[in-house]
């Protein structure tokens, strides 16, 4: 039995790995003291060795006997477990987006992360949905239900918001604006993926992969299947658990 914890910027994820399968998992909002939730999960499995990843990995290490790996390695391990032949992984979380290229044996060959801003991250989508007055799920649904889009040029969350305001004031329907925001994010992510290179399919992990509209737009943009695991947010935590098991 092994535990993997992914202490992300917006959510805490935990996975309990036993006999080659996920027997339990947790996804919860980070809140003010994200490590407390992780510690509670660990306390329930006191004998299971654990590994932490995510932004809070070093914080957690101060509170518990754990190994640490980066999100890059964790997502590489987790994605390979779900899709044994994958070579390119796109992970989009609350605060950053990354593209990871693996060699044939699953080792990280190269990776890219977004610059220090919210562009192309879950936080960007969240902010845009709030400014439109939508909940996240509804935001995704209405964007998927139309086929019209208007260009949004800025990828800065602050400037994009003013573009959204200006579209609103020009009478652009809300569903079209929602789709436009999705298209802008897809454009950004596809450029990152293309820069790193991809083969005949792409694995998409992280909380943002729950957004079905984004997934289908990305698939159309890249022209290859985009594979999403059943619970995409826990891929990092799964990778951490696998690393614990391999140690």
């Amino acid at each position: 039995m092994h535990v993997g914890i992914d202490l992300g910027s917006r959510t805490v994820k935990a996975v309990l790995w036993q006999d080659g399968a996920i027997v339990r998992h947790l996804v919860a909002a980070s809140g003010l003291e994200p490590h407390r939730q992780a510690l509670a999960f660990l306390a329930e499995h006191p004998s299971a060795p654990g590994v932490a990843t995510g932004y809070g990995r070093h914080l957690l290490q101060q509170h518990a006997e754990l190994g640490v790996i980066t999100e890059i390695k964790a997502h590489a391990l987790g994605a390979r477990q779900r899709f044994p032949h994958c070579r390119t992984i796109l992970d989009v979380g609350g605060q950053d987006s990354k593209v990871i290229r693996l060699d044939r044996d699953g080792r990280v060959a190269s990776f890219q992360m977004n610059d220090k801003c919210a562009a192309g991250t879950g936080r960007f989508l969240e902010m845009m949905s709030v400014s439109m007055g939508y909940g996240l799920e509804e935001f995704c649904r209405v964007a998927g239900a139309t086929d019209q889009g208007a260009p949004i040029n800025s990828m800065c969350a602050v400037f994009a918001e003013s573009e959204v305001v200006s579209l609103k004031h020009h009478g652009t329907p809300p569903d079209v604006i929602a789709r436009s925001v999705h298209l802008a994010v897809v454009g950004r992510l596809a450029a990152m993926v293309a820069k790193e290179g991809f083969g005949d399919h792409l694995v998409f992990s992280g909380g943002v992969a729950n957004n079905a509209t984004l997934v289908s737009l990305l698939e159309r943009e890249l022209g290859v299947p985009v594979l999403v695991p059943p619970v995409p947010s826990i891929v990092g935590a799964l990778g951490a658990a696998l690393h614990a098991a391999a140690r």
Binding site: I72, K73, S110, D115, K116
Partner: protein, 431 residues
């Protein structure tokens, strides 16, 4: 030196005399003390000869300034520069002091942004801010600043800086053809005239020959140090090496070379005894790219607190400053200036086109230093290094070298993200 006894010194009376904003500056020594203790003095097993360089940091705003003021009182030139292309030999020949001016701190950027646009190089903004905010004793002490035309942000900032301190500009061509060399040589000749004018005497063959020997000796000492540092296990940390290379720009050259050689003697013994600052198994990183001016220790600190060691800086504050020496065989002043120009033309800044020599140089240093990966460091808005990273990445891919490009500034807000990237890069090279 122990963490507790280290203290960056203060001298408000001196700062007052220099026309500084004393009230504002008086908080600086305590901040620097704190940062230095955390980043440098917490390291284990530092070479004993680092004590001299710790002392240089303690005296950075006091003792060394007193020395520069003494040079000035003798009527000798004190010249501030921003680039390894400005020939310090000619300042030394005139009995003066050359000071590489500071531009590595976030603290002065807000001052600069009152005048300059925000979206330009942080080094240029930081330096300009130090002057307009009157918070750099070196800037206050110099007779004049000698700028150059190596990038657009600098070139245009000099026009504004001239309002606060006399700023001369040396034109550095952007190609290395014969006609560019002719222009360059004329610029060097003009520079000599400008420096001699402050001293009030024309320096002759002997003074220039002495100065060339002096600065060659300083560069040779740094070469010796860097090649010792390439050994495994690393006998000295990347942070300490970066610091020494930064101090090279404001210390007195003869004393500095002597102290570097003393350190080399100690490191030679370490190498012989197999003593390192980190175990031989520690992942070894070469840093290439844009300069890290004092007190920019951000990337080195991230790398070395993530379990790796920096084994080489392919940078202006690094090998670009000392990899080439001036041929000492000239028999006339004209020849001296020509040999000097030839040496400076070998510096492979990305502002030149083409600049493929630099790619070869990075690969050479990668092999020499026994590095296992390259992190290319690019200051934000440094277009030439940023674009040249494309070619560097291609060369690394061709040679199977792990490579990662980082673009950053002085603000602390991307430290978490950088730490993740650096740790992932270390995971990548260790498998």
């Amino acid at each position: 030196m122990s963490e507790q006894s280290f203290q960056v010194k203060s001298d408000p009376a001196l700062w007052e005399k220099l026309g500084m904003d004393v009230a504002r500056f008086s908080g600086m020594p305590a901040m620097l003390t704190q940062a230095y203790r955390t980043i440098f003095l917490s390291q284990k097993n530092r070479p004993a000869a680092m004590a001299y360089f710790d002392g240089m940091v303690e005296n950075i705003h006091t003792g060394r300034i007193d020395e520069l003021m003494a040079v000035k009182e003798k009527g000798k030139p004190v010249v501030g520069t921003f680039c390894v292309y400005v020939p310090e030999e000619l300042i030394v020949a005139a009995g003066g002091a050359c000071v590489g001016l500071c531009g590595g701190a976030q603290g002065s950027i807000a001052d600069a942004e009152k005048v300059l646009p925000r979206n330009i190089c942080p080094m240029v903004k930081s330096a300009f801010g130090f002057k307009v905010g009157k918070i750099c004793p070196y800037f206050q002490a110099v007779d004049l600043v000698y700028g150059e035309t190596t990038c657009d942000a600098k070139k245009k900032t000099w026009e504004l800086l001239d309002r606060y301190v006399p700023t001369h500009v040396m034109e550095i061509p952007q190609m290395k053809r014969e006609r560019d060399k002719r222009l360059w040589l004329e610029e060097v000749q003009d520079f000599k005239v400008a420096v001699d004018r402050i001293a009030g005497t024309e320096t002759g063959f002997d003074e220039v020959a002495d100065a060339i020997r002096t600065v060659n000796a300083k560069r040779a000492a740094l070469q010796r140090l860097n090649s010792l540092r390439h050994r495994s296990p690393s006998p000295i940390s990347g942070r300490d090496m970066l610091l020494i290379q930064q101090i090279a720009f404001y210390d007195e050259p003869v004393r500095f070379a002597g102290k570097v050689n003393e350190l080399c003697d100690e490191l030679e013994k370490r190498v012989k005894d197999g003593v390192g600052v980190v175990p031989a198994s520690t992942p070894r990183i070469l840093v290439s790219g844009t300069p890290m001016a004092l007190p920019n220790w951000k990337l080195h600190n991230i790398i070395e607190t993530s379990g790796a060691v920096v084994v080489n800086e392919e940078s202006c504050i690094g090998t670009r400053y000392y990899k080439d020496l001036i041929d000492e065989g000239a028999t006339t002043v004209d020849q001296q200036l020509e040999r000097l120009t030839e040496r400076y033309m070998k510096i492979d800044c990305s502002c030149f086109t083409p600049n493929d020599d630099r790619i070869d140089q990075v690969l050479k240093e990668y092999r020499d230093s026994g590095a296992q990966g390259i992190i290319d460091y690019c200051l934000q808005f440094c277009h030439t290094y940023n674009i040249e990273a494309v070619k560097l990445r291609e060369a690394c891919e061709k040679h199977g070298i792990s490579f990662m490009a980082i673009e950053s500034d002085y603000s602390p807000d991307d430290v978490g993200q950088l730490k993740t990237r650096v740790e992932a890069f270390i995971e990548q090279i260790t498998g």
